[in-house]
């Protein structure tokens, strides 16, 4: 393979690159599947020349667990327990579009209180997921301390989720028609109603205030650091046309300048009752992707603070029969997950379980842009770019 290093087309190499024609073969470097920086078992077969990459081919499938096949042999309540393991960092938000799809086919009206509780927990899951990003991304760039600060703040949110639902990562709290009403279906007089526990509002308020202060701390510690800025500004610039063409969604799309958020365009949850902004970036580089996620933590904390004051009273679940059979039909519901857009295409033929459940995950489409983006970058930049995409292998391979 002839390698010609062309000075014009390589913005990442310092200006003194030399134009030399050497007859050498590139080296094939296998990054992964076991590697400290790919978030899971992603394998990138990279052809490198020294430190510079020619092309990258991601090899997926090391974590395929067969969700879509599993969904064909399970009933609807059982699928709810499985689905929150797709993107395990933000467990609650994976259940929402699935439940919304079944409710749409069954034409069930969800009570207001259930919708508000779902919204509060979804925003908390978003905060948890973005805190993992804020801790792990500086770790890949080399700063070892923000990880611990991020995990400490994340524990608060996870404790809150646990106090309501019983589980930190896999809450299994959504039911068709609302949220989980009670633990136990018997006629006992003292049943454990799974409503918000006492003290929840005050603890949530305190935690969200702490989280807002923690965001300021992260902005100072990580974002103000010149080394971080030098490592992430103008690295991995993703123009908005390319992002829309490849189907990228979520914070990455917003960092490229496209102001598109499914929370404001669809109404699977009552976001229009609240006052929040949609953070966007200007350049579409790694710094913008980091900054957009930091701003999203702030916006989510603000939404939770507003929602806490406005939870209406009412039943927790609509009246649905005990054995749930969804009538025939198909529908596709999409939602704004922390990682991007997640959608479920549900085809039902009136049975106890779906006929076919197709899961469209955010990370799978997001990393399809990587070969385009990673041409001609250096290996440290490859890791910075991959880290800024914030994908999880469970989301990619399902």
């Amino acid at each position: 393979m002839t390698t010609t290093i062309d000075p014009e087309n390589l913005p990442f190499i310092s200006e003194t690159s030399v134009s030399v024609e050497i007859e050498t073969e590139g080296m094939t470097l296998n990054i992964g599947p076991q590697h400290p920086s790919t978030h899971g078992v992603l394998r990138l077969v990279a052809k490198v020349d020294g430190e510079q990459i020619f092309n990258v081919e991601p090899v997926l499938g090391y974590m395929h667990r067969g969700y879509e096949k599993l969904a064909e042999v399970r009933t609807y309540p059982q699928i709810t327990t499985l689905v929150n393991r797709i993107d395990w960092v933000s467990g609650f938000s994976n259940e929402i579009p699935f439940i919304a799809a079944t409710e749409k086919l069954m034409e069930v009206e969800v009570p207001e209180r259930a919708k508000y509780i779902r919204l509060i927990l979804t925003e908390m899951a978003r905060i948890a997921s973005h805190f993992v990003f804020n801790g792990a991304y500086p770790l890949e760039i080399g700063a070892l301390t923000p990880l611990f600060y991020a995990m400490e703040d994340r524990e608060r949110v996870l404790d809150l989720i646990e106090s309501v639902t019983g589980g930190r990562f896999h809450p299994n709290f959504n039911r068709i028609g609302g949220v989980k009403p009670a633990a136990g279906a018997g006629p006992a007089t003292k049943k454990d109603i799974q409503d918000l526990p006492a003290g929840f509002y005050q603890e949530t308020r305190d935690s969200m205030e702490t989280i807002l202060k923690a965001c300021d701390k992260f902005e100072d510690l990580v974002g103000g650091n010149e080394v971080f800025i030098a490592r992430t500004k103008n690295i991995g610039v993703l123009p908005s046309e390319v992002a829309s063409a490849y189907g990228v969604s979520g914070p990455i799309l917003r960092a490229s300048g496209v102001k598109f958020d499914l929370r404001s365009t669809t109404d699977y949850l009552p976001y229009k009752d609240f006052d929040y902004e949609i953070p966007t970036g200007e350049n579409g580089d790694c710094y913008d992707r980091w900054f957009v996620r930091l701003q999203e933590i702030r916006e989510s904390a603000k939404i939770v603070l507003q929602a806490i004051d406005a939870v209406p009273s009412g039943p927790l679940q609509a009246k649905v029969p005990k054995i749930i059979k969804v009538p025939e039909g198909e529908c596709y519901v999409r939602a704004e997950n922390p990682k991007g857009e997640m959608g479920y295409h549900l085809i039902s033929e009136g049975g106890l379980g779906p006929y076919r459940l197709k899961i469209r995950t955010a990370s799978f489409s997001n990393i399809s842009v990587l070969p385009w983006l990673l041409e001609g970058v250096l290996i440290p930049d490859l890791l910075a770019i991959m880290g800024s995409f914030d994908f999880v292998l469970g989301d990619v391979d399902r």
């Binding site: 006629p187 006492a198 990580v222 010149e226």
Partner: protein, 155 residues
């Protein structure tokens, strides 16, 4: 030239934050000596109230992993009024939950029509052998003592 104007306060602020954290208390729970108290609703282990169970098999059927094994038989009881029919009662022979398979999803607790299963936030039951993770009826009865009280709700 890289962007190295003398914006000194940037990384100095970061260093100051890290330095000040040196003097704050640490947030680690020193596990074997201090134990973390989970919230009452946390899903640690499932407890069985044997008296209330009628071996209707709903929990075993709905479990996504099929980790509950139930066997039972019917017994005849003396009639409630003299001269009446003898009633039959279901008695459990075997009720095992295999915690090596259990997903901690909670479907079994939720669908039980007689409220025989309860969640308890106890989490320290690791074993050296995987077969000892199959908790049988007596052990599940023992977990009933750790089930917390019903907590008050927000409003």
């Amino acid at each position: 030239m890289p962007k190295f104007k003398l914006r000194i306060p940037g990384f100095l602020k970061g260093m100051l934050i890290v330095f000040l954290n040196l003097f704050k208390k640490n947030v680690t729970v020193n596990y074997p000596f201090e134990k973390e108290k989970l919230t009452p609703r946390a899903r640690g282990v499932i407890a069985l109230d044997e008296e209330a169970c009628t071996s209707c098999m709903l929990c075993a059927r709905q479990c996504p992993d099929w980790c509950i094994y139930i066997e039972g038989h019917k017994e005849l009881q003396p009639p409630s009024r003299p001269g009446g029919r003898e009633r039959s009662r279901a008695v459990l022979d075997r009720f095992d939950i295999d915690y090596a398979l259990c997903m901690y999803c909670g479907i079994c607790v939720e669908v039980c029509p007689f409220d025989a299963l309860f969640w308890s936030p106890d989490y320290e039951y690791s074993e050296y052998k995987m077969t000892s993770l199959l908790h049988d009826k007596e052990k599940l009865n023992e977990w009933m003592e750790t089930v917390p009280e019903i907590q008050p709700l927000e409003n």
